[in-house]
């Protein structure tokens, strides 16, 4: 039960203020500004409790979204709602920025009226919302259209309207993963996990029933015992290195997925919404393919000099190409000059960020590259030792570091005359770096 929702710009000025419950007064707006946005020390916790009022906030570029409540609510629900709100706003007017919010504030209030009712989250499916909240002003709607909207909003399948027709039935499937790593200087993995999303874009006619299969360990094991019933489905849709099955630690699904079926048979079947949506989210921690290995070497030469050497090794099939590689080597606070030599890419000392940034556009698998830098230091009267923050890395690789594979995605539409084979399917794997750090 969210009591109110505020949107602030970076200065703490209120752009949107919507109060759903009487227990939230106007002073709550100021309380958040004073205690969080303008706080002396940066507030890191996303939940702040001020005078028995809880503030949940997320930040998108320079915009703060804060949900306020005086009750004991499920914090995960509130954050899910805030993220959804961000998605909805992005779907309506693109990037969330101060200017966009100012230009669309009538629309945002309209949306807020729809997706939160007395503080309870309602249907926040962009596709559904777009049918009755439009930016074009009020259109004369026919009776049928109105009744259709009503039945859709109140009916069982709120995320898809009936009577959708496409000449070409197409389906795009993206497996997006971000891999997080913390490694010791000696190359020991201290922590690693992958959080992934399966995003679909479907352009299908009618009310199709879909079934999605991947190399989930439990399913594979079960089928293995059952006697290899579905060997054909194992045909490799992806392009990563081979691994039979993966263990998923936890996952969440879009509301269209029939959870009862997943619980009993572990099969993912659903009637997809029209357009783009996120089918599932998951997390794995075991058997992660680490695309890059960073080997740092830091040597302090006297009080005024520091030598840094960093080697990166790519660890995937030579046929694949990693992109947008960026290595960030932190420098001490008293750096007075830097000389860098690198074999590949471009490296530069960025004083404003206190780091050496090394960028490589492309790099194939099973390759190695090296950078060495000489850092001159200014002697200070401060005896504090440099804390040596970790070297971090960004990249993008065309496979799923968790090893996830899409085995099949079947489409059944009984009423219309197209079958699974007529649907054109596209699958893409993108692995990105999350927090990918190596201590030095």
């Amino acid at each position: 039960m969210i009591g109110g929702l505020f949107i602030y710009n970076h200065k703490g000025e209120v752009l949107i203020s919507r109060v759903y419950r009487d227990d939230i007064g106007r002073n709550a707006v100021d309380a958040f500004r004073v205690n969080v946005i303008h706080a002396r020390q940066q507030v890191r916790s996303p939940v702040t409790n001020i005078a028995r009022t809880s503030f949940f906030h997320v930040k998108r570029s320079n915009i703060w979204l804060a949900a306020v409540t005086k009750q004991n609510v499920n914090a995960a629900m509130v954050f899910e709602f805030l993220y959804k709100m961000c998605d909805v706003m992005t779907a309506y007017f693109g990037k969330i920025s101060e200017e966009n919010i100012k230009n669309n504030f009538v629309l945002i209030y309209e949306l807020l009226d729809e997706i939160l009712d007395f503080g309870y989250p309602q249907n926040s499916e962009t596709g559904a919302l777009k049918t009755f909240i439009t930016q074009q002003g009020i259109k004369g709607q026919t009776k049928e259209e109105q009744s259709q909207i009503t039945s859709q909003v109140t009916g069982q399948i709120g995320w898809r309207r009936e009577g959708i027709k496409y000449r070409r039935n197409e389906l795009f499937l993206d497996v997006l993963e971000s891999v997080n790593l913390l490694m010791s200087p000696q190359g020991q993995v201290l922590s690693a996990h992958v959080s992934g999303r399966v995003v679909m874009k479907s352009y299908l006619s009618g009310m199709p029933e879909c079934k999605f299969g991947m190399n989930d360990k439990i399913v594979i094991d079960k089928q293995g015992k059952g006697g290899a019933s579905d060997d054909a489905g194992k045909s490799d849709l992806g392009g990563g290195s081979g691994k039979q099955s993966i263990a998923i630690d936890d996952c969440t699904f879009h509301q269209c997925v029939r959870l009862s079926k997943f619980d009993s048979e572990r099969s993912i079947s659903f009637i997809p919404p029209d357009g783009e949506y996120e089918l599932m989210r998951y997390r794995t921690t075991k058997d992660i393919i680490l695309p890059f290995r960073v080997i740092p070497l830091v040597r302090e030469v006297g009080r005024t000099k520091l030598e840094v050497k960093v080697v990166i090794k790519s660890n995937f099939k030579p046929s694949l190409l990693a992109q947008k590689i960026e290595v960030r080597i932190p420098t001490p606070l008293n750096t007075s000059g830097v000389q860098v030599i690198c074999m590949k890419g471009k490296a530069k000392y960025k004083a404003s960020e206190n780091a050496i940034v090394w960028k490589i556009k492309r790099m194939a698998g099973m390759k190695e590259s090296q950078i060495s830098a000489e850092i001159e230091l200014l002697p200070t009267n401060d005896k504090k030792k440099w804390a040596r923050p970790p070297i971090s890395m960004n990249f993008e690789v065309p496979f799923a570091p968790s090893g996830l594979k899409v085995r099949y995605l079947k489409v059944f539409e009984s009423k219309l005359n197209y079958s699974d084979h007529d649907v054109i399917k596209w699958v893409r794997y993108i692995g990105r770096s999350g927090i990918y750090e190596t201590r030095c």
Binding site: N62, L333, N334, S336, A351, S352, L378, T380, N381, D382
Partner: protein
Amino acid sequence: MPAVSKGDGMRGLAVFISDIRNCKSKEAEIKRINKELANIRSKFKGDKALDGYSKKKYVCKLLFIFLLGHDIDFGHMEAVNLLSSNKYTEKQIGYLFISVLVNSNSELIRLINNAIKNDLSSRNPTFMCLALHCIANVGSREMAEAFASEIPRILVAGDTMDSVKQSAALCLLRLYKTSPDLVLMGEWTSRVVHLLNDQHMGVVTAAISLITCLSQKNPDEFKTCVSLAVSRLSRIVSSASTDLQDYTYYFVPAPWLSCKLLRLLQCYPPPEDGAVKGRLVECLETILNKAQEPPKSKKVQHSNAKNAILFEAISLIIHYDSEPNLLVRACNQLGQFLQHRETNLRYLALESMCTLASSEFSHEAVKTHIETVINALKTERDVSVRQRAADLLYAMCDRSNAKQIVAEMLSYLETADYSIREEMVLKVAILAEKYAVDYSWYVDTILNLIRIAGDYVSEEVWYRVIQIVINRDDVQGYAAKTVFEVLLHEPSKFGRWFGSVLLGRPLVQFNLLHSKFHLCSVPTRALLLSAYIKFINLFPETKATIQEVLRCDSQIRNSDVELQQRAVEYLKLSSIASTDVLATVLEEMPPFPERESSILAKLKKKKGPGAVSVTELDDSKREAGELNGGADRGPDTASTPSPSADLLGIRSAAPVGAAQTNAGSLLVDVFSDSGCSHFPFPLLPIHSLFVLLPICFHPCFVLGLSLHPCPVLWPPSSAPPSEDPAPPLSEADELLNKFVCKNNGVLFENQLLQIGIKSEYRQNLGRMYLFYGNKTSVQFASFSTTVSCPGELQLNVQSKPVEPLVEGGAQIQQVLNIECITDFCDAPLLNIKFSRYGGALQNLTLKLPVTINKFFQPTEMSSSDFFQRWKQLSQPQQEAQKIFKANHSMDTEVLKAKLLGLGTALLDNVDPNPENYVCAGVIQTKGQQIGCLLRLEPNAQAQMYRLTLRCSKDTVSKRLCELLAQQF
């Protein structure tokens, strides 16, 4: 000062600052700063020499970044280099950086001091000023150490420029304020005083601040400044407004200097030299005259400056308090301000008048303004001004106008602000008491006061009224009648003080009182119950009715312990005791000894020390003495604490009871008849009865007196205590420490149990009485105690077993015989086990307060003896020394009492330093005697002690040292 040349504009700095200002977010700002810092670092790298300009620019940027709240850990060296530059702007930035950023422990401080020294000795006045400003801005102790001797020299040197002298005087003032011990004026004093004669007004103004500060510390040395100040003042005052040119401010000649001169003169008594005094009086008259002149300008600055001088002059006049006509004039001029448009002026006028009212010369003059002041109290909008008006009314009140003022204050009280109400109430109460001419007026006033401001009447006020009423027989009649009448119409408040006023027709009165009973608060009810029992005593015919009231459930089973206790005790007392006993117990309260009025003390506390002058206090005591003429005044009663709150409470009843026991044990019967034989008195050996009187005041015995009406319905638990003794309580050591220097007191207390101790020691033997009090209303079963000694054969403790059952609210006693075999460290342990109905077995272990020092025998010896023995015990292991911080106050009397309580003899005139304490004693054990010498050196400044002990046995000195270190 040299103008800033065009090239010094520092464009880079301006660009940087505007960049920062334009940053959209905090992150962007941090990025920009990081970039700039990296840039500056690369510039400061040292492989290329920077010119002065860029050095200055970068140091400036660093300073700006620091002021934005970021840490700066480099660039200090460059700033210090700037100090040695010859350009003013570079030097200035260097000094600015140093005074903002350099902390005293930096290694650069030597370089900085060097640079400052160079500048001070240079002939260039601007450089000298910069150095002086830096010293004053930093103002640290290190700076004072380095330059305190240098600056006075500059200040009084003949060839120093005026502007430098000005800076030097203020710099010296700053150093004097931070470390007065380092600034030694000595030889410079007379020359500093003569700065008052300086040609340059700026120098005089700066010097006078310094002189005022210095003369407050040692007035005698600067006495000569008075005549100089007077002559300077008269020159200023008599000058025309155009004479002083630069120093004329809106047609007022040198207002700041005049104010400072007047303030300096307030540090000294009126000048003795007739000529000087005449001149000063002339000056003051001129100031008063000038204030009367029509204003030369309509600007507010003009009148502000003029009034500032006037108020300063008036406070000087008040300070001297010797010129009647000046005082009266001052008062009249202030009177004009009372109705001034400016709120601040009204406030100041009222405030000054308050002090004027206390002078005998101007008191009458102040009184003429009474109407205006009363008007101010009623109509003023500003609460602080109203407060001042009330203060002034209080100050100007005397016998002639007391009635009017008190009436006005009372009527104002109804609408007064809540913040000042309590103070007003106190003032009204004091005035009414102080200037009361007849008692009926006094009683009426206080009654009105209570009616109007009931909630704000503090306890002290009505205690005081009762004191006075009781002490004066003739008032009692009137008071009782008035209260009685009021009681008919008004609710409960008055019931409070009815308790001690006992006149009127008994039954009617009782019924009237009781009809209000249920409306009263708990403390009032308690007093009412006390009043009822007095009724029984005075009017036996009411006995039945009152007993009925006491017996009813709402009293005897009241949820409030105090009320229940009183009801039960009074009921028993009235039904069991004979009329004789009753009459003795319930005798009328003796007149209160005359004390400092507790109300006055409260007002004093409220306003802080010094607000109520001493003369006023004496005055009020004198007045009070007249008022309560009959009572004798003890010589030292002024210091006794305020009277006990309870008029006929248990605490005051207890000593009466004790006295009774001594006479014929009548009271004991009263209590033993009631079924509870826990009254402690008859169980104690008679010889210790004298200690009982003080103990009776202790809550533990008060508790012992109480009767608990709840019957014991449950059978005692039969489970025998089988567990091992519990480990000693964590606070056992603390408890032990309380008893090192005393023998009697409460050893332990929790919700269930209280253990009291009384002990005596002779030679190596001791006897200890333990009193176990059951604080609950439930019986304790299987009560057992065991005493064990941790060490081998060091102490021999014998005890008799105690009764296994302890009734609810009862107390039992146990005697321990203690023998000290040899010296020991650990105290014996006392283990107590008992079970309470429905509760688990309680297992409690305490340390008995038997410490080695209990077996001390004091030894008197002369100084020579002492030192001879001191030298004999010079082996290192025989001495134990400890230096520790004081935990308690370092009061001499308290310390002496503690050292005597220790058991040793306190030797006077032994130590050459009278601050130190020296004690000697012998510890008696069965086998041997151990001589101990003790020396305690307090250091009041540091709040530390040094304790040295020398004993013939090393373990003893160590143990004693540990024990004693906790005590002081």
